[in-house]
Amino acid sequence: MKLESFRAWIRQIYATRDDELTCNDVFELIPKYVDTEVAGDNPVERFPKVAHHLDQCSRCHDLYAGVLEAAELEEREQPETVAAPSVEA
């Protein structure tokens, strides 16, 4: 393990919280998280627990990144798209 990887792991260990979301929770929340980001709002502020999970779980982060890419592509190609419905944390 390289030094930087180890340091990143140490940060993950100390970031451990009592109330973390599961991968299933995050799977359900990713669409709202992504829509918030595509709309130009800050998803980290609106969904801090999702952001925390994405920092801890590379698999869910990869899923998030893939959905975000697709949603951004759709947004770029269809500027007339109806605005996303309002989301709530």
């Binding site: 940060r11 829509d35 959905v67 697709a70």
Partner: protein, 218 residues
């Protein structure tokens, strides 16, 4: 690839449920999913470099088809809290992500996913020389402490999940398959392991800043 203009969420649901509109809506949705998975596969093309164009196209078609079935199966759970297409993309990306990670790992090694309990942190850190003897001793003390927690305070399943996912970089899907469980439970096992490591370090009064300072480049 041609698509109709964008639909609202209500229009998607109405068209997918309408006798006369269903076929066209399904074809459009499939196109959306296919585009999403092509973008994803392009980002991970280094994992697919051994495949030809027709194989890549077939793989993308299969991912989109599998996801389409899953979307239809879960349609009644869509509550309109996000855009319908964003809601649908996660199914196809999830299918593709799982398969690509399994595939990548299988091409590297499917062996020794379990039974790595004796791997030590010192081994992982051996490629990084400490700048001085005092730092070397401090690093070793922390590594020994973490190793002790891993060996004596984690359950076997927590140990296997932590070592393989975090230290060896084995895909979560692979570890889940090996432990006959699911990704959700692997996350929980790694979470419990993290929590015990944090408690173990804090019990010895090591703060995050302390540990990062000891393992900084100086």
């Amino acid at each position: 690839m041609q698509r109709k203009g964008s639909r609202s969420n209500d229009e998607w649901l109405a068209d997918l449920g309408g006798e006369d509109t269903r076929a066209e809506a399904l074809a459009d949705l499939r196109d959306y999913l296919l585009r999403a998975v092509y973008v994803y596969m392009d980002r991970h093309r280094e994992d697919l470099s051994d495949l030809g164009r027709s194989e890549l196209e077939q793989m993308a078609e299969d991912f989109a088809q599998d996801a389409l079935l899953e979307v239809l199966d879960r349609l009644d759970t869509f509550r309109g809290e996000s855009k319908f297409t964003t809601w649908a993309y996660r199914f196809v990306i999830n299918v593709a992500a799982g398969e690509l990670r399994l595939r990548r790992w299988r091409t590297l090694s499917m062996e020794a996913v379990v039974g790595q309990e004796e791997v030590t942190l010192l081994h992982f850190l051996s490629d990084t020389a400490a700048p001085d003897p005092e730092t070397a001793a401090a690093r070793e003390e922390i590594a020994v402490l973490m190793k002790r927690v891993i060996r004596h305070e984690l359950t076997e399943r927590q140990r296997i999940a932590l070592i393989n996912v975090k230290l060896r970089g084995v895909p979560v899907d692979v570890v889940a398959e090996e432990l006959d469980t699911n990704r959700n439970n692997i996350y929980k096992l790694v979470y419990d392991a993290r929590k015990k490591l944090k408690e173990g370090l804090e019990r010895r009064h090591y703060s995050q800043a302390d540990v990062l300072a000891i393992f900084s480049r100086r």
